[in-house]
Structure formats: C-alpha cells, structure tokens
Symmetry: C2
DNA sequence: GAAGAAATGCAACTCAGTTGCATTTACTTC
DNA sequence: GAAGTAAATGCAACTGAGTTGCATTTCTTC
C-alpha cells in the first residue's frame, strides 16, 4: 500500500512506542496489497522475527484502536486487517472470494463510501461503513477444481 | 417482516419439508424486525418447542443454502440471520451498534444495493453485496452507562 | 406396519480469539 | 551505569460460536 511510509514514525505519531514486533506487524499489513488474516500476518512476521500468537492479536487490537489499521469481516469467522483509510489511501470496498477466501481491495472510485453516510439523518451515530462484495475471484472462476 | 407469509409453503417451495422446527426457525427470523443471532433465535424458538443447538445451526445452513435466509456479519464473531431479499422485501444495508450489538435493517431506498454491482466489469463474478454501518444506536448514544 | 430415508439429539471436537499471570524488555531517576 | 518502575511479550489455560460423527427418533413409502 505505502512503501515509502516510515512505520516507526507512524506508530509514534499515535502515541505508541515502535517495538520491533509492532513495526513488523504494521509494515506487513501496510506493504501488502489486499487485506490479511491474523494467521497470514503471523506467518509473514515470523519470517523476520519470533512472535507469539497472543502478542500479534494484542498488537492488532492496538493498531485498530489507534485507527492505523482497519478490521474487516469477510463473512466468515476470521477477521481481516488492512491499513485504515486516509486522504492518500481513501476507504474503499472489498471483494471476498467465497471459494478460496482471498480478500482484495476495490478501486475507491468505484464505490464511494463517504457521501452515503450523510443520507442517514438517523437517530443513531454512524461511525463507519463497510462494504463487501462476495463472489468468485478470477482464479476460482476459471479453475473450478480443488 | 412478513406476517402474512405462510412459512410452511415457503419451505416446500424450495424443496424442503416443513418440519415444526424449520417452520418455527424461519418464522422467528421472518417475523422479527432486524436480524438475529443464533442464540436469540434459539431462545425464541425454545419458548414454543424444544430444539437442540446443532439442529438450529443445521436449519440455518439449509435456509441460507436455499436462499430463504441471508447470513450477515456484524463485524463481530457471531453471524446474524434475516430474511433474504425478494422483490417485495428488497435487499438493504444494516446498522450495527458496536456497543450493544443490536443490528437493524435500514431503509432499502436510502442505500440502493443493486445498481452498484454493475459498476464492476471485473474479472471476478460478484454474487452479492453486503453493506454495514457501524456506530451507536439511539439507546446507547443517549445512555452512556452499562 | 415394516423398511428406508430424513430429521433431530447428544457428545466431542475445532478454530479464532481472549484472559491471567509470569517473564522479559524498555524507560526513568538517581 | 545501576536500581526501580512501567510497558511489552510469552505461555497456558480458557471461551464462544460453530462443526462433526454417530445414535436415536420421526417421517414416508410401500
Ligand atoms: Mn483495502
Ligand atoms: Mn434486514
Ligand atoms: Zn478465489
Ligand atoms: Zn446499542
């Protein structure tokens, strides 16, 4: 997503100390195209450093809480994590392949997420919107085995 | 949602026999405003008849598979179930209160879910779209205790 | 009403995530 | 730079929602 980002600085900018594990978790999420499961993040981070499963979950919670990272649901029971929306990286919808579980980002322009919130002069307070398209990815579509 | 529906007929129309448990599960979902967790459905159905937890999950799977019922994710780890969209009951977005877990249906007109699929002449095959707004419901908003 | 099929129940299991507490690492203060 | 404190990490056990395998019950069909 953002190769030139300094993730250490980013961490400190929200009041978190930049430990090796936090920096690697955030970097793994930020440098990946699409969103990731905790198990995938674990695997990637462990190529660089040893990290406990629980530590990863705690770091993910922190990053979400500080709004650096976004927790998304794929319609299954495993959360996905991706960089939170910013002006440079606007919020966007995601596509989820119901066959292989792949979850990828859609072009922010194709489904503008922001304006629609204003169409709801409701009594509740809307904080965020999540849009997910489910279907078959290109691979699973053309390759009906497995 | 649909008080005048005959849920037995609805079950048979998709090739399922209408057993007492299936009819009660479908009726519970269909007559409720908003979407329900399995635990809530279980509680409601058990006021009428005894039913095993596993049986409920199997019935829910069947109803989803036959497209009578829709499985929604609330951003937490528990699925929600509501009637699937039809011409009379069009598909719509849902609001989820991050504080109390309430999940309610939004006016189908406010966020038209259909047309946007056509904006994706992608290589993947889109089967459905899910739109969820997260925030605080009216109660939790005005009542910040608990 | 017997035989076979479908539906339901029950116990054990799985998987993702959480909790409590011990240990290690990073910051302060002297 | 050592001691003391706070924060971060590790480890084991736990939780909650959902699933699986198989036994039992209920519904069909002849
Ligand atoms: Mn994304
Ligand atoms: Mn609904
Ligand atoms: Zn796929
Ligand atoms: Zn609420």
């Amino acid at each position: 997503m953002c190769d030139q980002c300094d993730y250490g600085t980013l961490l400190r900018s929200v009041g978190l100390s930049d430990t090796p594990r936090r920096e690697l978790v955030l970097g793994t999420i930020g440098n990946h195209q699409g969103v990731l499961r905790p198990s995938e993040i674990l695997e990637k981070v462990r190529r660089r450093i040893s990290i406990n499963r629980v530590t990863l979950y705690r770091i993910l919670d922190l990053l979400v809480q500080k709004k650096l990272v976004q927790r998304l649901s794929a319609g299954d029971r495993t959360f996905r994590y991706g960089l939170a929306g910013t002006s440079r990286h606007p919020d966007h919808a995601h596509f989820h392949c119901v066959h292989c579980g792949l979850m990828e980002c859609l072009d922010p322009a194709s489904i503008p997420l922001d304006l629609r919130q204003s169409q709801h002069p409701q009594l509740m307070k809307i904080e965020r919107m999540e849009v997910r398209l489910d279907g078959l990815c290109q691979t699973c579509r053309s390759h009906p085995d497995v």
